[in-house]
Homo-oligomer: 328 residues x 2
């Protein structure tokens, strides 16, 4: 018995050694961004270093759209919303004649691409409200397992960034607790975030609806109501980080002006901090956009990055591959 | 080098063995409540058992006031609020003539004990709003290190329940992720909850204020505003659990009607569940109260416990000691 335990421990030791020996971030070229990340992680994890950070304080926050997965030509939650509106349409005959529902049902792509935020909000509400959290999670799960991106033909969950998956893994291996902090509905992300990224639901922070606890005959439910209680974008990101986590992150990762305040909050703390922006520069393998994009606009945050010394990843030059399926 | 590693591993193994061999919950008599807890934990952690629960799903939620620490003759946050109002009074000369502030400044204990919720809410707002989260956390830290309970003369943080500290430790040793879910302000609890109970701030869920992100000359701050965005009591408990954690707990611990819906939500899930209420029955070592108490009223939840088979702890009979200082 003792022998077996010892043998298992030795194997474990060997595995740990191998893990540490392997080069981190294999899909990143050995250029500025990777060097900045590795230097940061080595400093904050080096016991005795003036920049050492204890385990409990190693909090890292990640935006999702455009930072962990693609976001063009529309946020992927919008595709879900439209699909959900179509699925629910038989119960709402009035939608056929009423905008913005009419545009969705007729798949009027031009009108959909130009939707105002209030119109989109109305669709999001209609797609989520009145359902229990459990019913809605199942609808999201079913959708994420089958729905495909109109241009790539891939599952949306395949359109994540391989280099960022490796970054998540590298940070976790170095004792970081990683959180997603997204403007999307957290109820839209949580059902698949653990399997795809390794974020358990309690480490997914997103915009969310008012909900209501109800005792029904067959047990209690939590019902989604048509009212936002928290919008996790711009100034809403540090606010939500404070509400949910109660500590200031030491590293934050984003790609757009919606992440500006999160990076300000993170890098405004004392001690060594890492702020990083993913810059979409690869029109061939993904999309190229920044200061004038309707989706994922990166303008003020790009200026702030220069002024504050944040790391900016040039996707085209610094990432060997973008999506995991390129490996195949 | 290898020898040292092996030796360390053997010591670790020995410690692990010792930990498992030690009798859990030493301050609990071997009666119904302890037996129910141990039976539950053994079932959900036994690989191959039909009731086995994987690590990631082992979520346990704890009320604080009356469940983890005392709450008589008033919630301890109320004492903090009054002390804070007194400390801030020099900047608010108008408070001398204005209720409910006047009652606080004159220490009119009769009036204070009878405060309505709107009056108390006004005091809570005044004690917390307008400050940055960091300033406020420091004020709470200073207070919790020095303020003493008017009847026992103890620090409030000494008035925690030794059997519940052991229960937290026992659950954590069995892979549970433990959360506090309290009606008190989370900004009031987080600064000391890690040291006193072992809850990191991200595992403290409480009522909370609207906050605002602000860039100031010397860096970003988060400012507390005089408006509740979340009240974590009654139906607010399952709602907050869903918002922050996104999973249904498998065990919940409370002591009052404010915990009823949390226990309903937890025990309403499929599989083995544990709902437990602390019943304050010991007028000598602590306080005895239930159905008619102004603080920590336990009435409907006590009926529900009987109907639903929840465990009710008789503090007087089932706890060998109540507060840690009784050991000394």
């Amino acid at each position: 018995m003792k022998k077996i335990v010892l043998k298992s421990l030795l194997i474990l030791l060997l595995l740990v050694n191998t893990a540490f020996a392997a080069e981190p971030l294999p899909s990143w070229n050995d250029t500025g961004a990777k060097q900045a990340i590795v230097a940061f992680v080595e400093q904050v994890t080096l016991d005795g270093s003036p920049n050492f950070v204890p385990l409990s304080e190693r909090i890292a926050t990640f935006d999702n759209d455009g930072t962990l997965w693609s976001e063009q030509p529309m946020y992927f939650q919008d595709y879900f919303t439209f699909d959900r509106i179509r699925a629910l349409a038989p119960q709402h005959p009035e939608w056929k004649l009423k905008q913005p529902f009419k545009a969705v049902l007729e798949n009027d792509t031009k009108a959909l691409a130009a939707l105002s935020w209030p119109a989109l909000e109305e669709l999001i509400m209609a797609s989520q409200a009145g359902e229990t959290t459990e019913e809605f999670a199942q609808a999201v799960k079913d959708w994420s397992a089958t729905a495909r991106h109109p241009q790539t033909g891939r599952l949306y969950t395949e359109m994540v960034y391989q280099p960022m998956l490796e970054l998540l893994e590298y940070l976790r291996a170095n004792g970081f607790k990683t959180y997603m902090v997204t403007g999307a509905s957290q109820e839209f992300v949580r059902p698949w975030a653990e399997q795809v990224y390794g974020f358990p639901p309690e480490q997914v922070i997103g915009s969310n609806f008012k909900t209501k606890f109800e005792m029904r005959d067959n047990g209690p439910v939590i019902l989604q109501l048509p009212e936002f209680v928290l919008v996790v974008d711009n100034v809403g990101k540090p606010v939500a980080i404070n509400q949910y986590i109660g500590r200031r992150p030491i590293a934050s990762f984003g790609n757009s002006d919606g992440d500006l305040q999160m990076l300000q909050w993170t890098t405004g703390g004392s001690g060594l901090r890492l702020g990083l922006l993913v810059h979409h520069t690869d029109a061939v393998r993904e999309w190229a956009y920044d200061r004038t994009s309707a989706v994922g606009k990166l303008d003020k945050a790009l200026d702030a990055a220069k002024a504050r010394g944040w790391t900016v990843v040039d996707m085209k030059k610094e990432w060997k591959i973008i999506h995991p399926f390129e490996k195949q």
